[in-house]
Symmetry: C2
Subunit: 254 residues, 2 copies
C-alpha cells in the first residue's frame, strides 16, 4: 500500500518545525511539490532549505506538480475553487499513481498548518473518492502563521472566556465585523480589508512574512496603524513580488 | 537582565514539540512550574518526560509554584479570573525575583499554544506592570490541541472561504450557536455543552487527551455521537480523575 504524509512545516521559520514533522520528512521517498510558477521563488528556496536541513541519510526524489490555473475573477467564487481543486486532484492523483511505487511513502509539504485555509486535505480526499489510486494518509500539524503572529506580538488570541473568530479578508470586506465576537483574525486578505472597519476602539496586530528574515510587524490603534500597514505592505509587495500577511483585530470591551 | 521564555510544548505528544522549543528548553536555568495539586499527575509526568528527553547537557533547576485557589463558583466569572491571575502574578513575581539570578534564563512551560485560552502571557504582563522584578520575555508557539484534533480527524478547520469561531463550553451553553459561522470549535467545556445544540444537520469531531497514549476520538452526526461521547467522557474522567477535551461542531451548509 502507498502511504501519503501531509506535513505541516510551519509558517516559514525552519525552527518551528516539530520533531514529528522531521521524523516524517525522513521517511518520505517522493515529495510532491506544487509549482506555483512566477514570484514565489522565496518559498521554493525555503522549502529546499528545510529538506536539506532536516532530512539526513534518507534518499528522496522531488516531483513537481504543475498547478492548474485558477479563475480568480469568477463571479462564483466557491464554484471556481471547487473546479480548481478537482483539477488539482486529477494532477496529483496521476502523479501518485505514476511516480509513487507501491509500498513507498509520498510527502506533501504544507506551509503553516494543514487545517487552516489550506486545500491539501480536501484535494487528497477527492483523489481517494475518484478511486484511481489507493493509499493511506496521515496529517501532521504545523505551527500556523496565526500562532507566529501572536507569539511575536506576545498576545493571547482570545480574552478571558472570550470567543475569537478566524475569517477571510473577502468576508470582512463584504459583511463587515461579524456579530458576537470582539477578537477577529483575518487571513487571505489581498487588499487591506481592515479599511472597512470603523476604527474607533479597535487595535490591530499585523504581521507579514511571519517567521522569515523579512518578517514585518505593526501593532497599534487601527486608525493610526492602518496607513502605516498599507504603505509597508505596498512597498514590500512591490519589492518582493508577493506578500503573505495576517492580523488580529481586537475591539475594546465595553 | 533576567530573561523569561514562555514555551509552548504542544498538546501532549512530545513529538509535537518544535525545534525552536527544544532549543529554548536547552537555555533555561530555572523552570517555574505550577503545582496544580491533586489529580493532574499525568501532566506532571509528561512534563518531566519532556525535559528529560529534550534537555541535553544544560543544568537546570525546577521551582514549583503553588497555585492560588480559584473561586470557580463565583457569580462574577471574569472578576474571579482577574483576582486569581493577580494572585498568580504575585506568586510568580516573587519566585522570579528570589529564584532567578540576574542574567539567568527562566522558563514557563505552556501546554498547547500560549495564545489560546491560556493565562501565562497575561500573568507575565501583570508582573511587569507591578514593577517588582524586571525581565525581558519571549513567547514560543506550540501545537495546540485544536491542531492535534483536526490532524487526527484529518479535517480542515474551515470550509472554502468560510469563517470558524473558537469559543468556550460556557458560552455555547449560555448563548447557543453563535451567528454567522457554521464551524465552531469548543474548548474548556466542563459539561458537554454540545447537548445545548439542535443536532439536526450538525456533525461533531471530538477528541480527549489529544496527543497522549490515552487519546480518544469520536466523529459523526451529533445526534448519534453525543451519547457515545458523554459515556466515554464520564468513564475516562472517572478512571483518570481528570479530562481535557475539545471538539469541532460543523453545520451542514444550506
Amino acid at each position: 500500500m502507498r502511504r501519503l504524509l501531509l506535513i505541516g512545516i510551519g509558517a516559514g521559520d525552519p525552527e518551528q518545525v516539530t520533531a514529528q514533522a522531521v521524523r516524517a520528512l525522513n521517511t518520505v521517498d517522493v515529495f510532491l511539490v506544487v509549482d506555483k510558477g512566477g514570484d514565489a521563488g522565496d518559498l521554493v528556496a525555503l522549502r529546499t532549505e528545510l529538506l536539506e536541513r532536516f532530512v539526513a541519510g534518507h534518499a528522496y526524489r522531488v516531483v513537481e506538480l504543475p498547478d492548474p490555473p485558477r479563475d480568480r475573477g469568477a463571479a462564483a467564487y466557491a464554484g471556481a475553487v471547487d473546479d480548481w481543486r478537482e483539477r488539482r486532484a486529477e494532477v496529483w492523483g496521476a502523479a501518485l499513481r505514476d511516480e509513487l511505487p507501491d509500498g513507498a511513502v509520498g510527502g506533501l509539504l504544507v506551509w503553516g498548518d494543514p487545517s487552516l485555509y489550506d486545500s491539501t486535505i480536501d484535494v487528497v480526499e477527492r483523489i481517494l473518492r475518484a478511486g484511481t489510486v489507493a493509499f493511506e494518509y496521515e496529517v501532521i500539524p504545523g505551527i500556523s502563521s496565526v500562532q507566529t503572529l501572536t507569539a511575536r506580538h506576545r498576545i493571547p488570541l482570545n480574552r478571558v472566556a472570550g470567543a475569537v473568530q478566524i475569517t477571510t479578508g473577502r468576508r470582512l470586506a463584504r459583511d463587515g465585523w461579524p456579530d458576537g465576537v470582539d477578537d477577529l483574525v483575518v487571513m487571505l486578505d489581498a487588499d487591506c480589508a481592515f479599511r472597512a472597519v470603523e476604527p474607533d476602539g479597535v487595535e490591530i496586530f499585523w504581521g507579514a512574512y511571519l517567521g522569515t528574515p523579512d518578517e514585518l510587524l505593526v501593532a497599534g490603534p487601527l486608525a493610526e496603524a492602518a496607513p502605516r500597514i498599507e504603505a509597508l505592505r505596498a512597498e514590500a509587495r512591490g519589492r518582493k513580488g508577493w506578500i503573505m500577511d495576517t492580523y488580529l483585530l481586537r475591539r475594546r470591551l465595553s
